[in-house]
Every structure is written in C-alpha cells, then in structure tokens.
C-alpha cells in the first residue's frame, strides 16, 4: 500500500501530467470562435501543420493563347507555436512550352496576433522562390523574395440583430515580390505588388451560432469568393504596367481533418487570360491527423 506521502506525490504527478497533456494545442487558423479555412488564391492568416496535396490548376488561357496546367503541393511544419516553415513545389504543363518543374518555394510565417473576441488574426511571412530549382519553362536564374502580410476578420462580434451577417469573414493578403536580379539579358524583371482578399460565409459557423442546419453536407460548406491580383510597381517595361488577376468564386467543404476546395478562375481583363479556368485542392490538417508527432510544433517554447 502506498504511504500518504507517496499517494500525494502520485496525485500531483498525475495532475501535472494531465495538465501538460491537456495544455491547448496550437491549432490551424482558429481565432476565438472562428475557424478560417485554407484558401487557394491567397493564404489564410493562420499557421499550422498542414499539407495541401494536390492543388490542381487549369489556368485561364493566356492572352497569347498559351494553356497551362499545374499540379502542386505545399507542406507546412510548425517549428514553434505560431511559427511555421512551408515548402511548396510542383509541376507545370505549358502548351506550347512543355513540362517543367516549378521553382522550390519556402516561406517562414509567424502568427503574431489573435484577438479572440473580435475573431481578428494576423500573420507576417517571408517567402523565397529559389532560383535555379525549376526546369524548362519554369527555370529562373535568380531568387525572388516576398515579404507578406495576411489578416483575417470574422464578423461574429456583430450584435444579435445582425445575426445573419455573423458567419461572414474576410481575409486579405498583400506582398511584394522582389526579384533578386533587376535585369537578365537586357530584359527588366519587375517588382510586383501581389494583393487580394476573400469573402467567406461559413455555414459551420451559422450552424453552431445562429441556427441549426439539419443537412450534414450543407453544414460543412463555406461558400467563398477570392480576389487575387498582381500589379507591377517597379522596374516595369513600358506598356506592361497592367494589373492582372482573377476572381475566384467557389466552395470549401470542411471535413474533420481535411478540406476540399473548388474554385473557378475568372480573369479580370484580357491581360489576365481569355476564358475561365479552375482550381481544386485537397488539404490535410496534420495537427489533427498526427497531434502527437508530425502535427505538433518541434518545440513548445512560447506556447500560451
């Protein structure tokens, strides 16, 4: 039989173990009541262990008649709670132009703000597209550097009289893509401002806050429209200072540990493309699938 002292020690140890085991895990883009889904045109404002595999894109036909199909992946590993490193790559098929492997893209992202009561989240990141890692038409001899800011705001803090608007959320992203070399073979490499936003209406949020949705499929849908644009801002060849981009209406289905998103790609002008493209992505939340191994930060330092 254990002595009273040992029993106390054992109880304390169990309590500490339970507290450690149940300390809140750092999640994907969750802030207060809001879960921001992963979006395709611009990034969500959260940091988490995630795998987007595959992302399949049939680009709108180019203004010069070029067709492009991309199959890519992106893996994010959290290093610390709120700090993650992403690796993205994939293949592109151009017609004409043939197959090429895209440049390796890495991104260090830090989620520096979550105002839970206002469902407001913000992250800053730094992205590098590594030169000489692509092949064929995707080859670039120089790196491209992009500081990025992502924000998200859910409208769950609206008064009850505006209940119908509370499932609404907006996310936005702005970044500057700076080429590592300004000129190549007498041609200018412009610096571009990449910017965009999403409008989302979360039926999961509606179901849990406003009114019950009995249909199991419907209550997992998030209708979304993304707006993704690119504007050359420096070192621009004359006549090329045109904003290009797409408007991307679509829908996201939220599973428990994954999501599936499908969106149309509608070019905003003739410089952005001729007809409608499409993009689809299967996205896994590794923090949910492997909470005790691959899906948790390498270090818990700084965990709230």
């Amino acid at each position: 039989m254990l002595s009273t002292t040992w029993r106390s020690v054992a109880r304390a140890a169990i309590g500490v173990a339970a507290a450690l085991w149940l300390s809140p895990a750092f999640a994907h883009a969750v802030c207060g009541d809001r879960i921001f889904p992963a979006t395709l045109g611009i990034d969500d404002p959260g940091v988490g262990d995630e795998l987007a595999l595959p992302t399949l894109t049939s680009q709108p036909q180019g203004s010069d008649g070029t067709r492009e199909f991309d199959a890519t992946f992106s893996w994010t590993k959290t290093i610390l709670p709120g700090l993650g490193l992403s690796f993205s790559d994939g293949g592109s098929w151009l017609r004409p132009g043939g197959y090429g492997w895209q440049a390796l893209d890495t991104e260090l992202k830090y989620n520096f703000m979550c105002l839970a009561q206002h469902e407001f989240m913000a992250s800053a990141s730094f992205d590098v597209s590594w030169g000489r890692t692509g092949t064929a038409a995707q080859y670039s001899p120089f790196n491209t550097y992009s500081p990025i800011l992502d924000v998200g705001k859910g409208f769950g803090d609206l008064p009850a009289s505006l209940n119908i608007l509370r499932p609404l959320a907006i996310t936005a992203e702005i970044s500057e893509a700076i080429p590592g070399q300004s000129w190549i073979d007498g041609l200018q490499n412009p610096t571009t401002l990449n910017w965009g936003f999403t409008l989302q209406y979360s039926l999961p949020y509606y179901n849990s806050h406003i009114g019950q949705i009995d249909n199991d499929f419907l209550r997992r849908l998030v209708p979304v429209t993304e707006f993704a644009f690119s504007t050359p801002i420096a070192n621009v060849p004359s006549g090329s200072q045109i904003t290009t981009g797409t408007i991307q209406p679509g829908v996201i289905y939220e599973g428990d540990t994954w999501q599936l998103a499908v969106e149309a790609l509608i070019p905003i002008n003739s410089a952005s493309g001729r007809n409608i493209g499409a993009v689809a992505e299967l996205h896994f939340f590794l923090d949910d699938i492997f909470p005790d191994s691959l899906g948790k930060p390498i270090s818990k330092w700084g965990q709230p």
């Binding site: 149940l22 809140p24 879960i35 849990s208």
Partner: protein
C-alpha cells in the same frame, strides 16, 4: 506528370488517410435546445460535437437576457457517446431569450469555443 510523381503523391495520400488516430477540433454539430430554436424549459443542455471532448476541461454557461447566470450542474459526457457534452439545468426557466456559451477541449487537446441563443416559450 511522370509515373514517379504519381506514385509519390499516391503514397502521401495513402499515408495521410491511413493515419491511425485522427482527431480534430471539436465543432458543435447539434444542440438541444437547438441553436436558434424555441423550446419549453429544458431539463438539460446537450451539445453534440464532431469529436470526443474532455468534460473536465470543457464547460457550458447559460445566461438569461439581461440577467445573471443560470445555475447549471457539472458538465459530463454521455457514457454512450463521448462527443456529447451534457449539463443539467438547475431550475425551470421562465420564458425569454437565453444564451449558451460553451468551450470544449477535444481528446487531442484542441480548444474550441462558441455561443448561441435559444428561446423558452411561454
């Protein structure tokens, strides 16, 4: 896409789907009283989540419009379904609008929270 790329992608997908212990954030799927619904005074509040929850680290609060919190019992889970969090309502509720505020810690420690309203009919 070459054959090796296809095999790699298929292997990664199989790896992800074959994960033996998949848990997730506990999202509220159904509630009794229903979210936004109108009922007679309930004897208990039952919240059905998408995942099992830990009752020791989860909770439910109930407040009447413009009034103090309504006394509730200790939260527990349905012995037959660990994803259902239950609290007993300590008294008969007079007609009016009520707000349920909940927080849940799923079995893999992910934290979620939310609130909703229901009406008690005369």
């Amino acid at each position: 896409m070459n054959r090796r790329s296809i095999v790699r992608i298929a292997a990664a997908l199989a790896f992800a789907f074959a994960a033996p212990a998949a848990f997730a954030h506990a999202q509220l799927e159904k509630a009794m009283p229903p979210v936004g619904g109108a009922v007679t005074s309930p004897a208990e509040i039952r919240l059905k989540f998408s995942e099992g929850v830990e009752p020791r680290f989860s909770g439910i609060a109930l407040t009447a419009e413009g009034a103090a919190a309504v006394p509730l019992g200790q939260p527990s889970v349905d012995p037959a379904d660990k994803s259902v969090l239950i609290v007993k309502v300590g008294k008969t509720l007079p007609p009016g609008l009520y707000t349920v505020t909940w927080h849940a810690v799923s079995v893999d420690t992910h934290h979620t929270q939310g609130d909703f309203q229901f009406t008690v009919k005369p």
